[in-house]
Amino acid sequence: MNVGDLLDARVLGPDGAPLGVVVDVRLSLEVVDEAEGGPGAGEDREEAEHDAPLSAQARRDAVGGARLVGLLVGPRGAGSFHGYERTGIRSPWPIPQLVRRRHRGTFLVRWEDVAAVETGTAVGDDGARRVRLARGYTQLPAELPSASG
């Protein structure tokens, strides 16, 4: 199964009631210690290569495994600003405000609360992709913890 198979799949409640679509898939990245050790490593890379993030300002973590945490379920498809509403960004007004409004009601369900996933296997069978939630699932807030935290 790929993340792409889950995205935009229709989400059904335990009783089969439609709840929305999968707008995103939340993962948990294991952040590991820089092998080279500490904050100096970033600067070394800058000289060694061209395409590395050229500034220490942008967030960049050394990562290990990536675990599947859950699915973000929204009232409609993700549209064109994938995930923009889950960040704390407020400018440029009014774009974030409009996107957030469009995605009001988006919630997170834990992967443990997913009972079944049907992925369309035939060509053009895109509409058949469905995710059914388990009985007693909980709707969690969709916001991501702030980037600086």
Partner: protein
Amino acid sequence: MKKLLAAALGILTAVGGFVDIGDLVTNAVVGSRFGMSLAWVVVLGVVGIVLFASMAGRVAAVSGRATFEIVRERLGPRAAGANLLASFAINLLTLTAEVGGIALALHLASSVEPRLWIPVAALAVWLVLWRVKFQVMENVAGLMGLLLVGFAIALFQLGPDWGELLRQAVPPSPPGAEHPASYWYYAVALFGAAMTPYEVFFFSSGAVEERWTAKDLGTNRVNVLLGFPLGGLLSLSIAACAAVVLLPAGIEVSSLSQVVLPVAQAGGVLLLAVVILGIVAATFGAALETALSSGYTLAQYLGWSWGKFRRPARAARFHLTMIVALLLAVGILMTSVDPVAVTEMSVVFSAVALPLTYVPILVVANDPEYMGEHVNGRVVNALGTVYLVIVVVAAVAAIPLMIATGAGS
């Protein structure tokens, strides 16, 4: 001079955007039909491109990510794919026009038939893309393109009634004989030319080619603040020359050869030679800019290795894209199509490409995960939002205006 060289990227970008072959003719058409009454559009366009190119340059310098990578990342494969198709079409059409434009300019200089120059021009463009260092390319093509300043010199030598030119420009209104729809068609065409998306693709990728970092934000500022206003100035002088010499004679510009007549009248053969050299350089520069942009956009969308700073073998598909684009351009030109008419078609694709390019730039320039402390300030954001509205209105209005006026005729 040193400052001018430091701004070579901005200058080449602006020359390719403001005075490429389509705009050389369009500016003269505008001057000969509407006088200076559309000068405000050039000013509006300069401010807009300065705003967004500086954002794109800042994003590239701080995060190392060029504009089309951001377009894909923020819009996802579908919407970015639509932008890619439209932008690639604009790149290809403009590249076609520029290769034809180089041939037209060389025809002026030599009276050898343009068709014979086309393969030569295309080969020369490819050799530069294949072989020449990015900085050398931008210095030579950008600064030679500035020879078009001959139009400004010509304007002074013509000794026009400055008061009259100013009266045409403010308050702006279409001359009585012209239909308002034609006036607005040209307004949109000029604005679209100033804001044409390949400028930000080229500028931001050029920033990566030149290895800008957060320390180069000053260079970024110099580039946009020097380059684009210079481009706008050239654009205005061409229109003004036409307004002074051709408008009173009742001449409607339809070809490149008419564009240079005021220069010959003002400065004789010497100034004419300077300007023709400038036209060759400007169209050549625009050809390089659009050929590279076609490679940049496709490579950045699909994640391929790209860049002129790499050996061609280390960016194989990027170079293959540019070769194919040049071959297509030559193929289109061999059908004897009018290169200037080709650029008119790109207006249609701008309607898709403009919003889908400038929205992601504005959004990412506000994202602290990309920009850290270098996110947009309030004033830039306010201006950016206002310009987004203008861009969308212009882009949407372009197509009905083009149909209604038969492309301004």
